[in-house]
């Protein structure tokens, strides 16, 4: 606070204005912190609920200080679909992630290396269309198509549909990574006799690995939370993923079974968090190409 010292002590008006400024500054600061505090509580409460309620004797909407119990997990294990649905989610998410990385990776590599007229326009068009193709508007056509192909209740079909929805964005992001791989890496491998597939496996893929990992986790998160597509395309409860099964945890009267829902929610969030932590630890998340040697 060196400002007031420079002011002529006799000049009261200036002093008052400066004093006002300080007060206003302090008030706005206080306001900011109060706002941040409220927001924090607002977002932290659900998380708190998520962590505390599974261990509560009387699980409900309220957050109660836990009178600790593991009984709720007993209920979860007794439910015939709960654990299996997590397994189903893992299969769907893993399958989609693998396919998305392989297809988007190869497509992005090709798009980055081959000079096609109108290539960028094509890329943007695909990106734009993709939000339509797997958006709600396309649900009926997709259902009808798979129905006629007799592929309802087919997990592979669902994985393909999910992959298709993710590909455009994945390609778009990965192309940027591919563009940043110096051509001389590949040319040098080519002169030594490496085939295109070998170049992709030995050189390009390892160099863009942070990008591939980002896409994989992103795909997992997308599939994990997807309710509509699996709900429409999988009718067998034994095949349905967690996001769909969760909606069955209500009793006949329509009241939620809190013991089941709270524990299930906790279990449901663990794999995504773990996937995120692993990838973030190893590569850090990046949506831009750029290679650290």
């Amino acid at each position: 606070m060196s400002e007031p010292q420079r002011v002529d002590p006799g000049n009261r008006a200036v002093r008052r204005i400066l004093g006002d400024a300080v007060v206003r500054h302090a008030l706005s600061r206080i306001g900011l912190y109060v706002f941040a505090g409220v927001m924090l509580v607002f977002f932290a409460l659900p998380l708190l609920w998520l962590v505390l309620t599974p261990f509560s004797r009387t699980p409900a909407y309220q957050i109660t200080a836990p009178s600790f119990t593991l009984h709720n997990f007993r209920v979860l294990l007794d439910n015939p679909f709960a654990l299996r649905s997590i397994g189903n989610s893992l299969i769907l998410a893993g399958g989609t992630a693998v396919l998305a990385v392989v297809f988007a990776g190869t497509a992005a590599y090709a798009l980055s290396r081959v000079r096609l007229p109108g290539r960028d326009a094509l890329l943007y068009a695909i990106l734009l269309l993709s939000s339509i193709v797997t958006g709600t508007a396309a649900m009926v056509p997709i259902f009808l198509m798979l129905f006629q192909l007799n592929m309802i209740d087919n997990r592979l079909a669902l994985v393909l549909v999910l992959t298709g929805g993710l590909l455009p964005s994945a390609m778009f992001i990965l192309k940027d990574f591919m563009d940043s791989v110096p051509k001389s890496y590949e040319e040098s491998a080519r002169v030594f006799g490496a085939s295109p597939l070998q170049i992709l496996r030995h050189v390009v893929a390892p160099v863009v690995r942070p990008g591939l990992a980002t896409i994989a986790v992103w795909a997992i998160v997308q599939v994990w939370g997807n309710f509509l597509l699996p709900y429409i395309l999988l009718h067998d409860q034994n095949k349905q993923p967690a996001a769909v099964i969760m909606y069955t945890f209500y009793d006949e009267g329509g009241t939620p079974n809190f013991a089941l829902i709270s524990t299930f929610s906790l279990l449901y969030s663990v794999p995504v968090v773990v996937a995120y932590l692993i990838v973030n630890r190893r590569y850090g998340f990046r949506f831009q190409g750029g290679i650290k040697g």
């Binding site: 110096p182 040319e187 002169v191 030995h202 690995r209 040697g293």
Partner: protein
């Protein structure tokens, strides 16, 4: 080990740039051959066309006994070192060096053994576990060389491998590279825009301009008898003196004096006289058959100095030994050494036979 033969080789880029314009050239087995020329003359393009990274749009190319014009790069049995070295950033030095063997499906243990041996020979033994990003420029260059050596190709192609090194390292790398090539005896094409590098290292040099070769010869030939004014200008650390002159009977008349003319040129003809500053001797007293002028700038080159004589026909450079530098402003005479005066045709710029 192989000879490399280019026959009317041509590369026109899709945009219409003719970067290699019908080159014919034979590079001998085991030869260290330099491609020299100003920026944009097509050196890199030529090298890449030989490697197969660019497809030739005309002519043919053979390496050894094989015609390779249409073969993929991997089937041409050459190894290339790129200007940026193109080391794989995610592999250790050992894996980088062993990479060509991995492609040839050599077992892991065997290829690592071979890579270690090669690396030892290039003073890389301590660095085998590092990644390229953890190496200095000179070390990276040696890794790139080791990777090329381990491939055991019939020809090496180097694209300005020394240009990323600092001046001092460049000198030692020159010697190193030349010794390595000599020991291995592998035919080598070496691209550079540094004429000193080409003169120092190459068995033969091709000087290129705009996709064409202007002269092919040993460093001695290219330096001592440039085939045209382009090469004369390009080669040499001090530029060659190129002075207009008129031929009369037995004399060359220049603005700065007259010199004896070689016979058989015909009378009354305009030519350009070329004399390297290194092939002129300085005299502070008047002598016959010399060019005279006023001493202008004196530049120190180390063991000698470059003296610029201001004459009526433009400046003339003369190299004088150290401690024999004349004072600026005095009058001096430049005497060509016997047989060192070259005459160029004014129209074509070509060397006239003398």
């Amino acid at each position: 080990m192989a000879t490399i033969e280019l026959a009317a080789l041509e590369k026109t880029y899709p945009g219409g740039v003719r970067a290699v314009d019908g080159l014919s050239l034979t590079i001998g087995d085991g030869e260290f051959f330099a491609l020299l020329g100003p920026s944009g003359c097509g050196k890199t393009t030529l090298l890449r066309t030989i490697a197969g990274l660019e497809e030739a749009t005309g002519g043919s190319l053979s390496i050894g006994e094989r015609e390779v014009t249409r073969l993929a790069p991997g089937q041409r049995d050459v190894a290339m070192v790129f200007q940026d070295y193109a080391l794989f950033p995610h592999m250790t030095v050992l894996d980088n060096i062993a990479y060509p063997l991995r492609i040839k499906r050599v077992a892991r243990a065997a290829r690592h053994e071979k890579a270690r041996q090669t690396g030892d020979g290039l003073e890389l033994a301590e660095l085998m576990a590092r990644r390229p990003a953890e190496l200095s420029g000179g070390q990276q260059q040696r890794v790139a060389l080791a990777r090329a050596v381990v491939a055991h190709p019939s020809a090496f192609l180097f694209d300005e491998p020394l240009s990323n090194l600092d001046a001092r390292l460049r000198l030692s790398a020159r010697t190193f590279l030349k010794r390595l090539q000599r020991e291995l005896g592998v035919t080598t094409i070496f691209v550079t825009h540094d004429q000193a590098e080409a003169l120092a290292m190459a068995d033969r040099i091709a000087v290129m301009e705009a996709g064409r070769i202007r002269q092919v010869g040993t460093p001695r030939e290219v330096f001592g008898r440039p085939a045209n004014t382009f090469v004369a200008n390009f080669i040499g650390s001090t530029p060659m003196n190129l002075l207009p002159a008129t031929v009369t009977d037995h004399r060359l008349l220049l603005a700065a004096g007259s010199l004896p003319a070689p016979s058989g040129l015909g009378a009354r003809r305009e030519v350009t006289v070329g004399i390297r500053p290194e092939y002129l001797d300085f005299s502070a007293t008047a002598v016959p058959d010399a060019l005279s002028g006023t001493v202008g700038i004196v530049e120190h080159l180390g063991t000698s100095s470059l003296v610029t004589l201001e004459t009526d026909g433009g400046p003339i450079g003369v190299v004088v030994p150290e401690e024999a530098e004349p004072a600026a402003g005095s009058t001096g005479w430049a005497v060509p050494r016997p047989g060192r005066v070259l005459l160029y045709d004014n129209e074509t710029g070509d060397l006239l036979p003398t």
